[in-house]
Symmetry: C2
Subunit: 419 residues, 2 copies
């Protein structure tokens, strides 16, 4: 039961794109982890008929429909009404709920109408408590099918969903396991070409996804009656992928994401400093967005201009001869940053973000990332053919990857030139 689901996001502001549908992305992941595969997501306006029709049509393809948003106090919050119309049921004020919402309003009383509106519970619905807001969630069962109503503010949605997701797990009686392998230095089509029929195997779902600076293979298997078997399946598929692809693949052991990288460095009592030309502070911003980064990120320099590079200690002659975008300048940025701050690791990034600039040998999109440590400095040169924003994100990803790899398998002093 409930093995497939449809998520319906209700609200003009989400539909027109003024607000990103982060609830849908979070719920999609949470439902999948609880064993229910999302087969469709739909964004609809604050309109009773649209909500009614979408619910009825979604039930034709999925057991479980989760509606998010439109439970607030204002007249444009229509989700309860749309569901009532679809099911042909009434609704009534729940006196306990009403008292609780009135209490919560406290010294800022809303109008009585808005309190009553948020206290309305559909006939036969189970109330899903909201510990961080006013309107609760509701869950209605109809034979094998179910509809859940969750509030729209993201923090309320997550709070209300907690108990509901446990119920989903109970009903589906299974979970889904996933694994990701990352590839640095191949294009999406090259990677897919090497993987070949592994992508179309019937026993698991496989997909190749491209993000700036990295291509990922994601595998997914149902953890049904035999959990060990599903895990083993993914592990064998990963080993097979590794044997087919001519460059190394990196699994989740390598802490590439900013939060995992900061955590790994903090556990080791190690620190990092940065000198960023190309990325202009982007990598420092990614790292310092992690709580606790202040114990790890000792120093950052945005050395976008030649003068700023000279202030950091880059030799003027080196800049003139090798050029600001070059292997020796990337190396010097990393090493000078490390010396200046006394950090365990120094990172240096330089490159041509475009749209103009670049040389014949290093065209726009070329970037150099360097990691300096006590055993020496590794520099990778890469190139992406995408736009400015992507070049910068790719360089930050590559620098995090190089440092993360040092932590797991280092030292790797094999500088690479992916020309």
């Amino acid at each position: 039961m409930w093995e497939t689901s449809v998520i319906v996001a209700v609200g003009d502001e989400v539909l027109t794109g003024e607000v990103l549908n982060t609830n849908g992305a979070w719920l999609g992941q949470a439902l999948l982890a609880a064993g229910s595969r999302v087969t469709q997501q739909v964004l609809v306006p604050d309109d009773e008929a649209a909500i009614r029709d979408t619910l009825l049509s979604a039930w034709q393809t999925a057991d479980l429909v989760v509606l998010v948003g439109g439970l607030g106090p204002t007249p444009d919050d229509r989700t309860r009404d749309g569901v009532a119309a679809a099911l042909g049921v009434g609704m009534a004020v729940d006196p306990l709920l009403e008292a609780r919402i009135r209490l919560r309003h406290g010294r800022h009383p809303g109008s009585e109408a808005s309190i009553r509106r948020q206290s309305l519970v559909l006939d036969t619905a189970t109330v899903l408590p909201n510990r961080v807001g006013t309107a609760p969630g509701q869950l209605l069962l109809r034979q094998d099918k179910a509809v859940a109503l969750l509030p729209g503010p993201p923090w309320e949605c997550r709070d209300v969903a907690e108990g509901f997701l446990r119920e989903v797990e109970r009903r589906t009686g299974r979970r889904i396991v996933r694994a990701t392998w990352r590839c640095y230095g191949l294009t999406e089509s090259e990677f897919a070409h090497h993987l070949g029929d592994l992508l179309t195997s019937g026993s698991f779902r496989a997909g190749v996804y491209v993000r700036p600076g990295v291509v990922e293979l994601r595998l997914e298997a149902s953890l049904g009656d035999d959990a060990a078997e599903a895990m083993e399946l993914l592990s064998r598929a990963g080993a097979e992928a590794r044997s087919r692809v001519p460059v190394p693949l990196y699994d989740d052991q390598v802490p590439i994401e900013p939060a995992r990288l900061i955590d790994a460095l903090a556990r080791r009592g190690e620190t990092v400093s940065l000198a960023e030309s190309l990325t202009g502070g982007l990598l420092a911003a990614e790292l310092t967005d992690v709580p606790g980064a202040s114990a790890v990120v000792l120093d950052g320099q945005v050395v976008y201009t030649d003068e700023a590079k000279v202030r950091l200690g880059i030799d003027r002659h080196l800049l003139a001869e090798a050029g600001a975008v070059s292997e020796p300048v990337a190396r010097a940025l990393a090493e000078l940053s490390r010396q200046r701050s006394g950090a365990t690791w120094g990172l240096g990034l330089t490159g041509y973000a475009g749209p103009s600039g670049g040389t014949t040998s290093d065209p726009v999109g070329t970037y150099y990332c360097a990691v300096a440590g006590q055993n020496g400095t590794v520099v990778h040169r890469r190139r992406t053919r995408s736009g400015r924003e992507v070049v910068r994100l790719a360089a930050a990803e590559t620098a995090r990857f190089l440092l993360a790899r040092e932590l797991v398998t280092g030292p790797n002093l094999d500088s690479e030139d992916d020309r």
Copy 2:
């Protein structure tokens, strides 16, 4: 024609929430600006039948269906096939396109199959060129209806959509004009309270939206037969809003967005440097993401730790007495950064991003932004009650606002404490 549209995002990774559907949000806004109102958004898996059925069902309610994603080189990219099935048309390799894609692959040839796959054009389709990636977009007309296929990577989606959106404008025969007024220093509900019935006027659409560090009033009017009338309507509404709200409102004359700020500084031949504690490089990254920023952003310092602040020249006693998060430290960061780099303007940012930290008088979420110029230094203190990421974005927004305001109306030496 094309006055209503449905956006269909294709892809397992978007459907399951591994990737946020930023394309849908961007397109929703872009289509609206081009005169087409999005009535529904649907997220579907990489599945031919789902794509086919969703397109056919969307055409029952809207003239224009925009499919995003699933045009890549791998076997799980099914959008072309789904559309072909829905329309009952074939597809063929476009030799010119094939040659171009093969050229782009350059010395890293993908498999021939993937090149051919991306060169497939549906019968009767117009090709929408892709200047930043391989697979182009396609546009097919069917009587009054149309379907557009756009690539999934966000940078490619935007590039390919450019010409298509001009076509939407031409077909809808109208544009929607919008105007935004920004308010720094009121909460969303305070702002809405002051605006009162201006928000529910029938002659234009009005909404109050909150972004980190700023609350915005957005007005929207149809630029129908009489363009001047629509513009005049918005202008009168803006004047009315200004008269109702007790703090200044800033319109689009103030170049707050990174690209406009860099442009305004470049035109004046002025430069900027930064010393960021709280934001850890975020503001520098925002500014250097703009092409041409290298002529403007002279220097950036990520001074996340006390030691890094001391290296910049902050007095140890000042740090001990006032605290790293304080008005005098924000002021000193801006002034020392300006002195160090010789820039026209120095920016300093400090604050408590949380989740821990803060004091009784300056709790978590408090931030100080300073702008130093030749006429002196202005410091604003503000607080947001949201999470870490929002605090940092709010501080960057506030610093850009303070500098942009100096450029338009300065000098403004009225430091504010929004306690």
